[in-house]
Every structure is written in C-alpha cells, then in structure tokens.
C-alpha cells in the first residue's frame, strides 16, 4: 500500500461526480430484517428500522468518494412521534368534530343535487383541515433529515419556517386548483425556492435562482397528454353527431376511444416526466455558497423503466413466495377431503394448517413487498438521480465551515403520524 492508492480523492478537481454504491442484496436483507422486527414489536421498531435504512442509503451516496452520513436516531424519532401524536390528536379531534357539525348544519336532507353538493363540500372541508398539516409535516421532516445529514463531516441544516411554508403551500395549492393545474410550475418552483433559500451546508447557504416559468418546459409531456385527451373527447363527441355508418360514427368513436386510452396512460408518463425534468431544471439553477453549482441529468425514460421493471420484479417475487404456500394449503384441503380415513389428517389439523399457511403468505408478502420495493424501486431511482449528478466548482467547498447543531424536538413525528414519509 503506497500513498498513491488513496481511493477516489479527485476532490481537488473542480467537478465532483457523485457515485452511488449501494447494492440490492444487503439492502433487501436489512429491509426484511427491520420489517420483521417492526412487525413483532407492533410497529414500535419502525423508527429504528427507518433510521437503519437511511444510514445505509445515505452512506451509499458518495459525491467525490466521501459518503453521506445519517446521524438521526430511532429514539429521537420515537420521542418526536409521541409529541406529534398529542398535538395531532387534539387538532384532528376538535377540527373534525367542528367541521362535521358545520357540514350537518349545511345539510338540507334528501338526495337532491343541492344536498349532494353540500355533502361534497363538507368532505372537502375535512380534507382542508388536514392538508395544511401535510405541508407543515413535510417541512419539519425535511428540516430534521437535513439536520441529521453530514457530508465530509459538515452538517446540513434548514432554518425554521414550517408555518411560512404551510401558508404559502396552501395559497399556491389553491391557485393551482383554480387554474386547473396550469399554475403547478408556480407552486413547484416557489415552494422549492422557499426551502432551498433556507437550506445550509455548514455555513454556506443554498440559493435557488431561475424563474417559475422555466418549468413549463418540464410540463411538455403533460400538455401532449392533455392534447391527446381533448382530441379523443372531440372525436367521440363528433362521432355521436354523425349518422351511424362505417366511415362516420364507428370510425370516429373508435378513434376517440383509442385516443382517450392513450391519453390516460400518457398522463402518468407526463407526471413522472414533470417531476424528473423540473428537478433537472431547478438543479441547474441552484447555487451553494459563492459559486458552487450543480448539474443534474436524470432521464424520464430511466425512471419510468425502473418503476415498471421494479414493479414487475416485485410482483413476480411476491407471487413466487405466495403461490407455493397457497398450493400447499390447497393440497391440504383436498387431502383432508379425499383421505378422510387417515387418522392423522383430521379436520382441525387441516383447518389450523390452512390458517397458518394463509397468515404466513399474507404477512410474508407484505414484508417481502416492502423489502423488494426498497431494492427494486427506491434504491435504483435514488441511484439514478445520484449518478447523474455533478457538483461544479467543488474546489470552493474547502472554504465552508461547520454549523451549529439544530435541535429538532419533534424530529419528523408529524410526517410519521400522518403517514407521509417518503420512500425512506
């Protein structure tokens, strides 16, 4: 061993390529093991499970060879969760009750259109009581995760600001709804900017440059999908006006149906494309400290490929686990009917066997699906995003110094209680 083989220490070069070196196997076993522990502790271990999975994923992310480090603990998350539960129980209990009562007093009885509208308005109102909490929880969770993330020994952090984020998010969400989604880029960009402009790496602050209108480029596939859907609807509409005949009615209606089906699938492609491309566009306009920039090149096709391939693999593996168990259970039932004379095969034993096999199949498939999703979907997508990321002007990182540790008492309890934790 000489001093020359010190590994990938190209850190002094100006561009840092990020590498991801997590592997499927170890992650699968870690997820399966922690999932099992979560199950037998009635869910209490989930905080430690999440922590361990994160430690694994974080330490696999290695811009320029230095791994990320996750320093959160299961204990912190448990305590944060307990705190959040108290606050949420009070908030949800009181709000749901009051909203329900408001709904009742708007309620005119009967099944007229007006009554149905009133009932719909009531359920929308209940959602409106929870929606701001989701945004609040998202900001708090991001704050906790960043405060517990280090790279090169230096902590990340994000300033307090969950309330400001919440009301902005509610405002932009309403604007997006009222504009039928046309203002989605405004919401995406402004919320990202709000978070990024408050994010630090050590003493250096991140900034989000650019304009929200640049994200319309990321909406291209969505617009194509909408155009197809509109064309399909128009064809179907015109088709019904024409007299029945091989060239008029049938052709147009058939075409309309095909276009609607294609448009429907395309909408999903559009959604993934928007998320991938808006990430790419906004990454190009991010700046850390004075002049450290980023180049992200994730590809929509790769992400969709991972989703489809991963889901198929996951389905196959779960079936490979469940089908043999079901066959054994089935054979047991048949055998008990066919060979009743066999003393050892009495009905109770068979019944018990079938129940046990079915429970194993049920619980096992849930555990397997979770662990497989981590290694076939979550990790490959993370890998793709990381491996297509480059840090530019990385030499300036040397000037960045450590920041104080942020105490985040509620950890990400709100996100956890509201069940909006991301994939990991």
């Amino acid at each position: 061993m000489s001093d020359t083989d010190t590994g990938p220490s190209s850190a002094f070069g100006d561009a840092l390529e990020a590498q991801y070196d997590g592997e499927g196997g170890p992650l699968f076993w870690l997820a399966l093991k922690t999932g099992f522990l979560t199950l037998i502790t009635l869910g209490i271990y989930r905080f430690w499970a999440k922590t361990r999975i994160r430690r694994y994923l974080w330490s696999s992310i290695r811009p320029g060879g230095s791994p990320f480090e996750y320093t959160g603990t299961g204990l912190e998350m448990l305590l944060g969760f307990l705190l959040a539960v108290v606050v949420l129980a009070v908030y949800l209990g009181v709000f749901q009750l009051i909203l329900f009562a408001v709904g009742l007093s708007m309620f005119s009885g009967g099944t007229t259109d007006a009554a149905i509208m009133a009932q719909m308005a009531t359920s929308l109102l209940s959602f409106a009581a929870v929606a701001p909490l989701l945004f609040f929880a998202r900001y708090r969770a991001r704050r906790y995760q960043l405060a517990r993330t280090r790279w090169r020994g230096i902590r990340f952090g994000i300033e307090k600001g969950a309330l400001g984020y919440t009301w902005r998010a509610v405002f932009y969400a309403i604007a997006t709804l009222l504009s039928f989604g046309l203002l989605l880029p405004l919401m995406t960009f402004r919320l990202e900017k709000y978070m990024i402009d408050r994010t630090y790496y050590g003493t250096a602050r991140f900034q989000q440059h650019g304009r929200w209108t640049m994200l319309y480029r990321a909406m291209r596939q969505v617009f194509i999908a909408l155009a197809i859907l509109i064309a399909g609807a128009a064809c179907s509409g015109f088709g019904t006006m024409l007299p029945p005949g091989p060239l008029g009615y049938s052709f147009l209606s058939g075409l309309g149906m095909v276009l609607l089906a294609v448009g429907y699938v395309w909408i999903f492609i559009g959604a993934v494309s928007y998320s991938v491309q808006s990430f790419r566009l906004m990454a190009a306009e991010k700046e850390l400290g004075n002049g450290i920039r980023f180049d992200a090149q994730p590809r929509t096709g790769s992400v969709i490929g991972i989703y489809i391939g991963g889901t198929m693999l996951l389905g196959l593996c779960v079936m490979a686990l469940v089908i043999p168990l079901i066959i054994v259970a089935f054979v047991l039932v048949l055998a008990s009917g066919g060979f009743e004379q066999l003393a050892f095969m009495n009905q109770e034993v068979v019944g018990l066997g079938v129940v046990i096999l079915t429970s194993i199949a049920y619980v096992g498939s849930i555990l397997m699906a979770g662990a497989l999703a981590a290694c076939f979907i979550t990790q490959p997508i993370l890998r793709h995003y990381i491996e297509t990321l480059t840090i530019l002007n990385a030499g300036r990182l040397d000037l960045i110094t450590q920041r104080e540790r942020d105490e985040v008492v509620d950890a990400e309890g709100f996100a956890d209680a509201l069940d909006i934790g991301a994939g990991f």
Binding site: M1, D3, D5, T6, P8, S9, A11, F12, D21, G22, E23, G35, T38, L39, G43, R46, R52, R55, Y56, L57, S59, S60, R62, G65, S66, P67, E69, L75, L82, V85, V86, A89, V90, G93, V94, Q96, L97, F100, A101, L104, S105, F107, G109, G110, T111, R150, W151, R152, G153, I154, G202, V363, L397, D398, I400, T401, Q402, D416, A417, L418
Partner: protein, 392 residues
C-alpha cells in the same frame, strides 16, 4: 504495555475530514495497539489528529462495497473514511469499542414519560374533550335541522334493511292507532324540542333504533319476537331514552371527532389497519355502552311513570340471550351494547310495577299492531326466528 489488548499495528490510506471545514485530505491512519492510539498523518507526515483506540467508533449500517467511516465518540466531528474493505477490517480489528453505542442517561425515563403523556393525551381527547365538545355542539344544532338529518338517516336505513326496499314503512289505521296509544301512555311528559315520530319498518331483523330529530323506528321482526305489548313498550321506552338525551346526534358527532385518531397512533405496519379498526371499535363501544345503559335507566323511569312493568323487557332480553347467546369476556368490550344478562337483571331489579297493571294495549290492539305490516304471520314469525340478531 502489551497486556491483553489486541496486538498489532496497521497503517492504511484514508480520507480525512477535520469536522471544522468541508475540505478533504488524503491521509494515512496509523493505528498501534501497543500504544492504544491511532495517529492520522497528512501526506507531508505531519500528525493531524491522535485518537485513543478505545474511543474510536465505526458508523453502522455502511453502504456496501466495503468502505468504512470512523470517528471519535463524543462531540468530535472529524471523520476518517477508509475505502478498501481489507483496510477497514484491519483498522476495525484494533478498535475494541467500535460498535459501542452511547445511550444518554435518563433515556428510559424520557421514553416512559413521553409515552405516558401521549397515551394520557389520547385518552383525554377521546374520553373527556370530544364527548363534552360533541354534547355542546349537539345543543347548537337547530331542532328543525336535526329533524331533516333524521329523515335522511331513516330513509337510508329503510333502503338498506327494509324488506320492500324504499317503501318498507308499515301503516294501517288500527296499527297506527295502537302505536299512538302506546306512545301517549309512555311520553306524558317527554321534554324534547321536536315531535316524536314512531314508525314500523318491515324488516326481518330484530331491531329498533332512534335517529336524530325524534325519529324512532321499530323493525317488524321485533314486534313478532315480542310475546306481549309490554315488551314492545319497554323497547320503545329505551329508544325514547335515546331521543330524550339526543344520543343519535351526540354519538355521531363523537364518532366523527375520533375518526382516524387511533390509526394515527398505530401507524402502517403490516396488519396495522386491522389493529386500528379494532381499537376504534373498542373506544367507541365504551361510550355507546354508556349511552345504552343510560337509555335503559331512562326507560325504567318512564315505565314506572306509565305504571308498566320492567319485568316484560327483562323477559325479552332473557329470551334473546337464550336463543342467540350472550357476549361475555373479551367480546363484551367490543360490543356496542352492555351484555343482555346484565340488562335483564337491571330491568328486573328496577321493578317499576308489580304484577297488577293495566295492559298497555288490549288484545285486539296488540293483534292490530302485529298485523301492521300486513304479512301472513306465520311467514313472518319464521323469518324473525332465522334473522333474530339485535336486541335494541
């Protein structure tokens, strides 16, 4: 100095982050079990840090491909990243406490205190705050609004449980008159802000219920299952007890408030959804049982005022429990009603009237009530037997 401590010395290439800046240095980590120290040397040979081996920790759950991250326990934030798996192993072998985790003192106490506080807060909201609040809010909803809500509820029940779909409410001149007579005897002085509306639903289920706004619906199978008009009067008195305390509205409000709170706590591990449903059932059953017991007590007072025997309803409960068994043990906590045996006993000991009483209906009126749905009685009795289910 070479006691029982691990022997040997190793020198591995690594990357060093000093924990103060984001800079990165290629270094050499020289660990010596003899001196019990690890020295981190810059490329120039200058020592950057000296770590006691017993205080060196390794970051757990590392990503694969073998790299390892070492650091000092405590508040020191410097990190040593070793790339090659064999170097990681060589270094780790010299760090006896690399896996030790430090749990801050008082951790168990903190968990217990926060856990108890959380459980206490949940119980407080479910059993103190929500009930009070729903009672207050129930009083704020105007009676005419409540009656409209009740009309809708009754129509929905009629569609779901009626033998003849949407048109399952029974009415004959004689049957209505019999119901009216029973009602007048019971509610001489019932103080509610709306009209009490009692109707019979053609249904094979032995049941009766009160909906918001003074609606009371008796299922026809219950009338067939009863052996005397006093038994029906007892059930009716119980439902009127619900009407008097506005239970239908209060309990609905309470359920709306507590919906989802427990699933919040229980989370989404495998089988968690089922656990949450059971927990909600237990929690809501606790307060519906309380309301049922209160309605029973109210019914006894009402029967006493009407000079009718509570013994009749006790017999009715006894018969139901003989035919269908009772819920005891664990199931009792899940059931929305108290156990039948308990209710029968309470009714019997209430002794609202001795054996001598003026019958609530004459034999003729009783038969008219039994014929209110105008079906051949034999069929109905049979159906009642097969479908006997609820007791209200």
């Amino acid at each position: 100095m070479k006691g029982s401590a691990p022997h040997g010395q190793t020198s591995v290439p690594a990357l060093f982050h000093d924990g103060r800046t984001a800079g990165e240095r290629a270094v050499r980590a020289v660990a010596d079990a003899g001196s019990g120290r690890m020295t981190i040397l810059a490329e120039s040979g200058a020592p950057l840090a000296i770590w006691p081996l017993k205080d060196v920790r390794q970051v757990r759950d590392p990503g694969s491909k073998g790299h390892g991250v070492f650091h000092l326990s405590g508040t020191d934030e410097a990190r040593l990243v070793v790339e090659a798996a064999r170097d990681v192993a060589a270094l780790a072998a010299l760090c006896p406490n690399r896996k030790a985790s430090t749990t801050p003192p008082g951790t168990v106490r903190r968990i217990v205190v926060s856990g108890l506080a959380a459980i206490g807060a949940i119980l407080l909201i479910l059993f103190v705050i929500l009930p009070r609040l729903s009672d207050t809010i129930a009083r704020m909803i105007p009676p005419d609004r409540e009656e409209q809500i009740g009309t809708t509820v009754v129509a929905q029940v009629e569609r779901a449980f009626g033998a003849r779909g949407e048109d399952a409410m029974c009415s004959t001149a004689e049957g209505d008159a019999a119901l009216q007579k029973m009602r007048d005897r019971l509610i001489a002085d019932l103080d509610v802000p709306y009209d009490v509306k009692i109707r019979v639903l053609d249904s094979g289920m032995v049941n009766a219920f009160a909906a918001p706004g003074g609606h009371v619906v008796i299922f026809s199978a219950l009338i067939y299952a009863a052996e005397s008009p006093e038994e029906v009067a007892g059930i009716l008195a119980h439902e009127l007890g619900h009407v008097a305390s506005r239970d239908p509205l209060r309990l609905t409000l309470r359920a709306a408030g507590s919906a989802g709170i427990l699933s919040l706590v229980i989370g989404d591990f495998a089988g968690g959804a089922a656990a949450a449903v059971i927990a909600e059932q237990v929690a809501s059953a606790a307060y519906t049982r309380e309301a049922e017991a209160a309605a029973d007590r109210f019914a006894f007072d009402m029967l006493a005022a009407a000079e009718l025997p509570s013994e009749a309803i006790a017999q009715f409960f006894d018969r139901l429990s003989e035919e269908h068994g009772d819920m005891n043990g664990v199931l009792e906590y899940v059931a929305s009603h108290p156990s039948l045996a308990g209710r029968a006993e309470a009714a019997r000991s209430a002794e609202t009237q001795g054996d001598a009483f003026a019958p609530v209906l004459s034999e003729e009126e009783w038969q008219a009530l039994r014929a209110i749905c105008d079906w051949p009685e034999d069929d109905m009795a049979e159906e009642a037997d097969t479908a006997l289910r609820e007791d209200e």
